[in-house]
């Protein structure tokens, strides 16, 4: 138990972003000579790692004089970044509109509405790429919007350099493999860079989802999207994870370690265990970006055909 003497009152919820717990996963480690640790990002105020990014992007814009109270924020998101921005917007006096694929889980939509955010649906079949496209169009059409734009905002990887990565580097004497989910690339780029400074032989590994056919309805590969902040050459491994493997990872994490992670956390655990198996000895650190709460309404928990139950929705 934490020493009660170290507990201090925070002056704002925003002061509680980051400094998340790092826990060893002794029951999941494939061999005693390989130690596996998880960074529990669900412990952030809105329950995901995106609190770090939202706070950093808004603070950077305020510091640069680009934002004044009352301004309207606009952001493309599959959910978590929107929810984190909704928290920051509420406390700092901005309104928020999120452009989100129409097929995200209901929890995300409801939570955003409860925070007072507006939601603009982007076409379900275009996945998150469609949300990016539509938000860029809306921002172009209406200059009164301020778009933090997590995919191209350097404050995103910087938050992980200064926060996520630095926290892990300060907690451990050795890290051989760092695993995180690939969405914007912010965690992998920022925390990866910081950890490589402390551990030069580090392997930075991305866990990447295989989207269902129903959310890959792009007309051509030209509609693919690589976030400007993502430099793929800085990754050492980039591994695909099916929805079924992700859910198996979520269940394993819950059964063995009693950690209730979200879908991307399941994918990250899948890759973490694969890479831990490849090591003779060493330390693997993974980032569990959110908890499972925002996915409870989904059909896959009781489905015999997980892939089918998940193919029509955007999960990351």
């Amino acid at each position: 138990m934490a020493d009660p003497a170290t507990v201090r009152a925070a002056s704002s919820l925003l002061d509680l972003v980051g400094s998340t717990p790092l826990v060893e996963l002794t029951r999941l480690s494939p061999k005693p000579s390989v130690r596996v640790y998880a960074k529990l990002e669900a412990q952030n105020p809105t329950g995901s790692i995106k609190d770090r990014v939202a706070k950093a992007m808004i603070e950077a814009a305020e510091a640069a004089g680009e934002l004044e109270p009352g301004r309207m924020l606009l952001e493309p998101t599959s959910g978590n970044t929107g929810i984190s921005l909704a928290l920051v917007a509420k406390l700092r006096g901005y309104s928020l509109t999120c452009v989100m694929p129409a097929n995200v889980t209901e929890e995300r939509r409801r939570l955003l509405r409860l925070y007072g955010a507006e939601i603009v649906d982007s076409p379900a079949e275009e996945g998150s790429n469609g949300a990016v496209r539509l938000a860029l169009e809306l921002a172009e059409r209406d200059p009164s919007y301020f778009m933090p734009f997590q995919y191209g905002n350097e404050a995103n990887p910087h938050a992980h350099y200064e926060g996520t990565g630095a926290e892990i580097a300060s907690a451990l004497d050795r890290v051989d493999v760092f695993v995180a989910g690939l969405g914007t690339g912010g965690t992998l780029m920022g925390a990866g860079e910081r950890l490589r400074e402390s551990f030069p032989d580090l392997v930075v590994a991305a866990a990447e989802p295989i989207p269902g056919d129903a959310v890959m309805g792009l007309r051509s590969l030209d509609e693919g999207y690589v976030p400007p902040i993502l430099d793929v050459s800085k990754l050492d491994r980039k591994l695909l994870v099916s929805n079924e493997e992700s859910v198996a990872g979520v269940r394993l994490l819950l059964e063995r370690e009693a950690i209730f992670g979200g879908v991307s956390s399941g994918a990250v655990i899948h890759v973490t265990l694969r890479l831990a198996e490849e090591l003779e000895e060493g330390v693997v650190v993974c980032v569990l970006a959110d908890g499972g709460w925002k996915y409870l309404s989904a059909d896959f928990w009781e489905s015999d055909d997980v892939e089918r139950a998940m193919e029509r929705s955007v999960w990351w």
Partner: protein
């Protein structure tokens, strides 16, 4: 021979198939074999003589850019997955 999974975005170019078989000792040779039989794929997959930045090619579940790119050796019966680059967050 390798199996190549075709994403919905490219199925028009291959007559609607979700998966095709193709021959080659490397990822590049397998894709060349596919493109020879389905020439419409070329413009989608390649830019400036290399793989387009918006297409990801996976062998054994790993992005071939992390291995030897188009030179990555392909074992008999391997599965190659083609996907458009998709964002998240």
């Amino acid at each position: 021979m390798a199996r190549v999974r075709i994403p919905p975005t490219l199925r028009n170019e291959v007559g609607g198939a979700r998966e095709l078989e193709a021959h080659g000792a490397t990822v590049g040779e397998v894709i060349d074999d596919l493109v020879e039989r389905h020439p419409a794929l070329r413009a989608q997959l390649f830019q400036n003589g290399g793989l387009g930045s918006f297409v990801n090619v996976y062998l054994g579940g790993e992005d071939v850019r992390m291995r030897d790119g188009l030179e990555t050796p392909v074992d008999e019966g391997a599965t190659i997955i083609l996907l458009p680059a998709m964002a998240g967050g």
